[in-house]
Amino acid sequence: MKRAVFKNRRLPYLLVLPQLAVTLAFFFWPAFESLRLSFFRTSPFGDKRLFIGLDNFRKLVVDPEYYRSILNSFVFASGVTALALGTGLFVAALATQKVRGLAMYRAAVLWPYGIAPPVAGIIFLFIFHPSYGVLPYWLSFVTAYEFNWLLKGWVAMALVVVATAWTHVGYNIAFFLAGLLAIPASVLEAASVDGAGPVRRFRSIVFPLLSPITFYLLVVNMIFAFFGAFGVIHAVTQGGPSRATEIMVFKAYKDGFIGLNLGSSAAQSVVLMVVVIVLTALQFRFVEKRVTY
């Protein structure tokens, strides 16, 4: 469709100027700087710089701690995504089972999205507290195993995963509900007339129709877990115990801000940039598909 337009030579530039100024100053310039810094060795106070080519990257490639942080990131992101998506789909599927009170249930599960991940982390820190928390207490009836996140890396990981997933489950429910309600009731009814049971209906009709949304949410949850969850780690575990929860974003921050190793931190930022670009490209393949129908 051809749109009617206004004719003015200067005005459109003035209108996009604020947005572009912020974008260039705080997005492009820093991203470009990160890229440039990653080829230099910089003294801790930034006064001296030495070009060293790909040395920062070479060091990362042979650094076992970096591999550890990559692994941690993937464990963390998959854990958060699986938990938040699984719970979200479960609750949304239940709420659309033609029962009364859909709006009420939705209101009752949506609000955790308002809780900042670090605040959620602090709440779960107490729930997991080895001496006072309610979870280790309950578990002590089942097993003698000591669920102490200060000593056991995987417990610390579980703590941050659950806290992060908790804040994101409402988001997923909102999207799954929208998707489920868009499935025409007649299709499902026709299937049940043909004798398809609930599981069969879910598997052959609901799930395929929902798959674009699921895929979109998968990517969004991954991005969120990779980047948005910095606060949980920083506020709760500080990457510990013994680096068990040190995810890539946290390591980039720590090496740069605390370790003052600017070159390595910049190189890690560049790797992270590649990760977001890949994830965002995936996300947009979905958006494009949706736009076509």
Binding site: F26, F27, S34, V99, P112, P118, V119, S269, V287
Partner: protein, 299 residues
């Protein structure tokens, strides 16, 4: 599952020529009971952490460390909240968070509206470049450009300032997309009629588009308010003084680290309730806008 038996039964009635009024009949009986039970269980599981945090925030230190844990509210609410409020300088923290959330949300909405307006209603050289530059910001979250952004803010002299806390948050590809999509649904006739009457572009934006956009603005504002309130890495980096700290970061000082402190979890939980109440209240009160905002920005 019996629930689906009931659904299937009503579907069959309909298939056999049942009245259209049967369509929206709720299923009753065992099936519905099971579904409700599972839903209530899910709600309980999701609500439990917040309930527990609230319970702890009402207990005395003695009750907090008792075994078995006490899972019902107690009577120490007021002293805990007063202690949390004074010890963490809560007035300042909440004020700062509020400023960051409101200013960054208003700023984002404003500059996104303007740039989307330029992109939809004008033809100008470099239009696709501008669009592309805005779009690519999606791929550059704060986390991937931390050190360098810190430098830029430092050079501008914006460390420990509201400008530093809010302006860099104001660029938003998603908000720009949302307005672009919306403007495209506005019928051409409206623009043409306005032009015939000699209405200029700025007046068109102000008097025609803005009133039509309120629903989108409200939806976007809710989502952006929460986003701004819950920022963490950004304020952590660029503020060093206590006076400029936001509440999500201020909480950290109250965490009783093992061994060294009195385990005042009740005070910490009281502070946590204060930090989470504003954004959660916004979601609850403006739920309809919130859902619309979430789904339409697809951020």
């Amino acid at each position: 599952m019996a629930a689906d038996g009931a659904v299937a039964a009503s579907a069959r009635v309909e298939a056999l020529g049942g009245a259209a009024t049967m369509r929206r009949r709720w299923s009753l009986g065992w099936g519905a009971f099971v579904v409700h039970a599972l839903l209530l269980l899910s709600v309980a599981v999701i609500a439990f952490p917040l309930y527990y945090a609230f319970v702890i925030s009402t207990q005395t230190l003695q009750e907090v460390i008792t075994r078995p844990p006490i899972l019902r509210p107690s009577t120490n609410l007021l002293p805990n909240y007063v202690e949390a409020w004074t010890r963490s300088h809560m007035t300042r923290l909440l004020w700062n968070s509020g400023v960051v959330a409101v200013v960054s949300a208003v700023g984002k909405v404003t500059i996104s509206m303007l740039s989307a307006f330029a992109i939809v209603y004008f033809n100008f050289r470099g239009k696709s470049l501008a669009f592309w530059l805005i779009f690519v910001t999606l791929m550059l979250p704060v986390e991937v450009r931390i050190m360098a952004t810190y430098e830029v803010i430092g050079n501008l002299g914006w460390l420990d300032s509201y400008a530093g806390l809010t302006v860099p948050l104001m660029a938003s590809a998603t908000a720009t997309f949302l307005f672009r999509q919306f403007y495209r649904t506005v019928p051409n006739e409206l623009v043409e009629a306005a032009q015939l009457d000699g209405v200029g572009p700025l007046r068109f934006l102000w008097a025609f588009l803005l009133p039509l956009s309120w629903a989108n603005i409200a939806a976007l504002f809710v989502v952006l308010f929460i986003y701004g309130w819950n920022q963490y890495l950004w304020p952590l980096m660029i503020t060093n003084t206590e006076a400029m700290r936001v509440v999500v970061i201020g909480l950290e000082d109250l965490i009783p680290r093992t061994g060294t402190h009195i385990p005042e979890w009740n005070v910490l939980m009281a502070a946590a309730m204060m930090a989470l109440l504003p954004p959660v209240a916004v979601i609850v009160v403006m739920q309809r806008w919130f859902v619309k905002g979430l789904i339409e920005t697809e951020k």
